[in-house]
Symmetry: C2
Subunit: 168 residues, 2 copies
Amino acid sequence: MTPEQIRKDLASFGAFGKKGVGYHVAELVNNISQILGLDRKWNIAIIGVGHLGWALANYRNFASLGFHLAALFDQNPAIVGQLINGVDVLSVADLETTITSRNIQIGVIAVPAGEAQAVADRLVAAGVHGIWNFAPVRIRVPDDVQIVSEDLSVGLSTLSYHLRRQVP
Amino acid sequence: MTPEQIRKDLASFGAFGKKGVGYHVAELVNNISQILGLDRKWNIAIIGVGHLGWALANYRNFASLGFHLAALFDQNPAIVGQLINGVDVLSVADLETTITSRNIQIGVIAVPAGEAQAVADRLVAAGVHGIWNFAPVRIRVPDDVQIVSEDLSVGLSTLSYHLRRQVP
DNA sequence: TCGTGTGAATCCTTTCACAGCC
DNA sequence: GGCTGTGAAAGGATTCACACGA
């Protein structure tokens, strides 16, 4: 990225630098954090503690971005009750009550594709405002609920596209 | 997306439709697969069989996109030798020889951040052409090696940005 | 009539150029 | 001298409009 590009991008949110000096880094980080809403705390819950959910539960960068892992849910009785990264795994039966009691704003879907929409519907009904979806399906939510889907096939297709001619 | 948008996008790779009729879906899918290089087979290896690597090894969509899981590597002796999704876990000591013998073109990095660059270097030296990186660090590779990084903090920041005003 | 392919017009983003400031 | 902020110019992408074909 060019310097002008970065200046223009920042300019669309305000003027954060000092002419002739530059940007005060710590201040700029704060400003960007505010722009992204990372200055506040978000309570998240992971639904589905298979390998993927487990990996996400151990993701270290959550905290530094202001995300607090507030609950884990699974339907497998063998997993319910376990402690992962200091958080206990609850039964999905307790989804709605826990989302309310622990003030959870974001739900992370890490269940198999076939169950993803049903989980999303329950999350929305329970009052979640955002969904981070890892299941490889398109999920429908009301307009006032934000959804971000991590689609792994995009990354693989990108690799494949660039390798296509390069590799014999 | 608008219809014109899609027509223009496709037009930059050729003319795939019939005027007055539309697109023959099966044919179009084939054409797009060719454009993306998904019509050929890619052999991939996952390095790091923690929860994340394990989850990736069980990712069902690999095959349908033409990706064949050809090897798994871990440094933990307790995991080496196990069979996951029909693929045996090898010691990372065997990385170089296996990449050659199994004709692996793409390496998937699922190791902790601190080891990611070292693994990437070994993959590149062993002749891998593409790297799919899940470690939360920026990885340096030569220009002729393609790299795609899955940065989870982007998705979370996107959610946070949109929820910022909406949520009290 | 409906849908693709495509030049032309429009819109938006990036780059250039430079004033202002330390 | 070096760096930000910002109008102006240039470059790209999207939308419009329509020719063409089934």
